[in-house]
Amino acid sequence: MGQRPPSLQLPSLTDTQQIVSLDDFSGKVVYLDFWASWCGPCRVSLPALNRIYAELQSQGLVVVAVNVDAETEDAQAFLARYPVDYEVLLDPEGNSPADFEILGMPTAFYIDRNGVVRGVHTGFRKNDEQKVRATLMELLNE
């Protein structure tokens, strides 16, 4: 917290040839979310994040979701049921969650426009949607 996040470079789910890096989003507020298809709360968080993304995208919000499923088909099946419009990256090896030292699933990092980690959100409950939206709006208005 208060520091730059570890570097992240992963292939995109929609086009695995395309490598996405966190540096691509400088100047934007990034909500970096680690999730998996087997993660129960992720069934709540992905649709909620998609709503927040739809609302705040125009203000400079980027949602980057890192999928840590060992099998990419599991992720695709999950996204067929819970479709999202934001960027999904693939990390079947699970190297990036180790770099970020996450303690639970899902875990998300708030990264401000200067590329600094400003907060961490672990787990996801129904009421968390408002909290996440409020925190992101604060960062967007800075």
Partner: protein, 70 residues
């Protein structure tokens, strides 16, 4: 011979010494076939029938048994 036995047995304990499963590595463990009890409802029904037929309860788990109060 002793040395050969030692060499053969040495990997055995090492095979079990896996590191802790990290929060993002639970994918395989979360699969239905990995559950201790594949169908909890079915086994609850079986237990219900067993207890009623045997006029007993408890003994199948850590709780209950003996006092007849549950």
């Amino acid at each position: 011979m002793k040395r050969l036995l030692l060499i053969l047995l040495l990997p055995l304990p090492m095979g079990c010494a896996t590191s802790e499963v990290q929060p993002w590595e639970r994918g395989y463990l979360a699969k239905p076939e990995m559950q201790l009890n594949a169908d909890p409802r079915e086994s609850a029904l079986q237990a219900q029938i067993h207890y009623s037929k045997e006029a007993s309860s408890g003994g199948a788990g850590a709780a209950g048994g003996g006092c007849g109060c549950n």
